[in-house]
């Protein structure tokens, strides 16, 4: 039945360049848009690398995002625990998914997020002040990239920022593929317990925030409220933080591109989309399981078979984005799938874009001499994490 005979082991190791998808994925994409793959636990699935095919799968309701669907592909045991035990709507199908997503869509409307710009600018300016005050070097990840989106999502949700160490370390554990099943279970329970308790306090003393509004609703169970808070808290800070750090590194490696953006902040919108495309930090792909036999490209995915949609190769489609894969901030990259596609497409994308636009333009403007304090090849990456990122980014200015 299959057209190609090759099989690829997932996840595949990176090559020498930290900004290029693992060479095996690129090679697979050259061979066919859909090929056979094997997961770490030995089960078979399909790897989808082509742009049209990735969009087709993610937009097709016959592919389930519910991890309890037979055949759903897992890259680790911890992921299996997180996704199957008490899933949030990112791992549910419609109509349940739509019902829960719509509880929070109003808080992420383009207009609402645009109104947050001045507040975010203020948070970013203070983060630059704090990072640079009285010292000449810092870890851009811990001292800048992580606090900013954490503060923003805490304000939106109504989570006290003082608790950031708790939720930041639990999120890291949950998104790490090396986390064992019992570890994931414990971290999940701890964070859910924290949010359930917070929601209860909001019910008594409501504030002007998402968690208070959710806690006041009669059509949500306590478990659903905590789970919505959990999803927004984890996705809201971790991806943007990682994206900030790798974007800064990408710009440090390409001073010409940094200079373009520094000179013309109007470029920020397009530049952020190009960085999202180029870096595709959801680097391990998105999993789905077929609930019917579905033709994808040249192959038929049978009922109960899993697929992994590789966003990074789709984002390097030569017809759409040109043959030159390197960073080009003037490229029209708006068709990228770094936020996914279909009904699960990132709910926080407008927020993430606005945060990144402000963070990058502010950093370039205020710290024009920003540079690494270690050789680039000594940096370590979170390659086992669902979200690609840097452990540390030591910089001076």
């Amino acid at each position: 039945m299959t057209v190609t005979t090759s099989t690829i082991n997932l996840p595949s190791p990176y090559g020498s360049c930290p900004f290029t998808p693992p060479p095996a994925y690129t090679a697979a994409a050259r061979e066919a848009a859909v090929i056979r793959a094997v997961l770490p636990d030995g089960t078979a699935c399909w790897l989808v690398t082509g742009y049209d095919e990735v969009r087709a799968v993610l937009a097709d309701a016959r592919f389930s995002a519910d991890a309890r669907t037979p055949g759903f592909p897992f890259l680790s045991a911890g992921q299996r625990e997180l996704a199957t035990a008490k899933p949030s709507f990112i791992r549910m199908d419609d109509p349940e998914h739509a019902r829960l997503r719509r509880m929070v869509t109003k808080d992420f409307l383009v207009k609402r997020i645009e109104e947050l710009r001045p507040g975010i600018q203020d948070i970013v300016d203070r983060a630059v002040d704090r990072m640079t005050e009285g010292r000449s070097s810092a870890d851009l990840v811990a001292d800048f990239a992580l606090p900013i989106p954490s503060l923003v999502i805490c304000l939106m949700l109504g989570v006290p920022y003082e608790d950031h160490e708790l939720f930041q370390s639990l999120s890291r554990t949950l998104l790490d593929n090396r986390t064992t099943r019992p570890e994931a279970e414990r971290a999940h329970a701890q964070l859910m317990g924290y949010l359930a308790e917070l929601a209860e306090r909001k019910r008594q003393h409501p504030g002007d925030d998402i968690l208070s509004r959710l806690a006041a609703r009669e059509d949500l169970t306590d478990q659903e409220t905590a789970s919505l808070g959990f999803l927004l808290l984890v996705t809201g800070h971790e991806s943007t933080a990682n994206m900030t750090a790798v974007s800064v590194l990408a710009l440090l490696r390409r001073p010409d591109q940094a200079e373009l953006l520094r000179r013309d902040s109007e470029l920020a919108r397009g530049a952020v989309d190009e960085l999202l495309r180029h870096l595709t930090i959801i680097h391990l792909g998105l999993g789905r399981a077929a609930t019917e036999a579905v033709r994808v490209g040249e192959v038929t995915v049978e009922v109960g078979e899993g697929v992994i949609c590789m966003l990074s190769t789709a984002n390097r489609d030569e017809q759409l984005f040109g043959a030159e894969p390197d960073l080009d901030l003037t490229r029209d990259a708006r068709r990228h799938v770094a936020f996914g596609y279909g009904v699960h497409q990132c709910l926080g994308q407008t927020l993430a874009r606005v945060e990144l636009q402000i963070v990058l333009t502010t950093l370039l403007r205020r710290l024009p001499a920003l540079r690494l304090v270690v050789p680039a090849d000594q940096l370590t990456y979170n390659r086992d994490n669902i979200v690609y990122g840097l452990r540390e980014l030591p910089v001076t200015w």
Partner: protein, 267 residues
């Protein structure tokens, strides 16, 4: 010589001297300014498209316009009277035509709006004394004539010093706008309007990702009551057709369908 002659013969009085830029080429801030000031009335694409040739100036211009429209002290009715009269006096159909909607919103009747384009001395419209003073002032200010003592006293009797200063600046900005658009022969938007495709929405499929608003803010918005997509214009003008096609392609939920006489140029 010959080449020059060719240029002048093809340039009819209706061809703009500097064509307005299409929205796709405006700086994004300008597009969001237009989208955000939708309540100020339709038909400003060509004005914005003209200013888009000079983005920094556009920004300054529109800041002043915003203050006069939303933070002014004259009140909407007086403001629209002055704008209409200056536009009539300077023979600027773009501005007069486009201000009919905001003027009606400000409480001017259709008869009053028509009367702003008639001769004050001979026409029979029974203007209230204050309206009349404003119209007479607009006639003079439009062409930079001085305001005689008697007329000034009538104005000063009705208006505060703050309102008087604003009146002069408002008349001046309107006159500049009329002169600019007339000199460039900028066509009015209604004359240039060309519906191209029809947009159909399946709101049940909307997942509020916001892609359509990012791609074509002139055509799509998000309904604040339920967070889902809504249409500002089901038959968008031809100048937005490419962006609308782009929005339909980006929509992750497949909520946008186009009845498009030209096939979607998906690569």
């Amino acid at each position: 010589m010959k080449a020059q002659g060719t240029v002048t013969t093809t340039r009819t009085p209706h061809t703009p001297r500097i064509p307005p830029l299409p929205p796709a080429q405006w700086p994004p801030v300008l597009r969001s300014l237009l989208a955000d000031s939708r309540q100020d009335g339709p038909g400003r694409e060509n004005l914005f498209g003209t200013l888009a040739h000079h983005p920094v100036l556009a920004h300054a211009w529109l800041s002043l316009a915003r203050v006069l429209t939303h933070e002014g002290t004259l009140g909407h009715r007086r403001r629209e009277l002055i704008v209409l009269r200056v536009a009539h006096r300077l023979d600027a159909p773009y501005v007069h035509g486009r201000h009919r909607t905001p003027a009606a919103d400000a409480g001017l009747t259709a008869m009053e709006i028509d009367a702003t384009a008639a001769d004050l001395a001979t026409a029979t419209h029974p203007w209230q004394p204050e309206d009349r003073a404003l119209l007479e002032a607009a006639d003079l200010l439009a062409v930079n004539s001085s305001v005689p003592e008697k007329l000034w006293d009538r104005l000063a009797h009705a208006l505060t010093p703050e309102q008087l200063v604003e009146l002069l600046v408002l008349a001046g900005q309107t006159a500049t706008m009329c002169t600019t658009l007339n000199t460039l022969r900028t066509p009015s938007d209604s004359a240039a309007r060309q519906p191209s495709l029809t947009v159909l929405l399946d709101r049940d499929r909307c997942c509020s990702a916001g892609q359509c608003v990012g791609a074509a803010p002139e055509v799509f918005e998000q309904d604040e009551s339920d967070g889902r997509v809504a249409l500002l214009d089901p038959h968008p003008d031809a100048r937005y057709a490419d962006e609308v096609r782009f929005a339909a392609d980006l929509c992750p939920g497949g909520a946008i369908t186009l009845l498009d006489p030209e096939e979607t140029p998906h690569p």
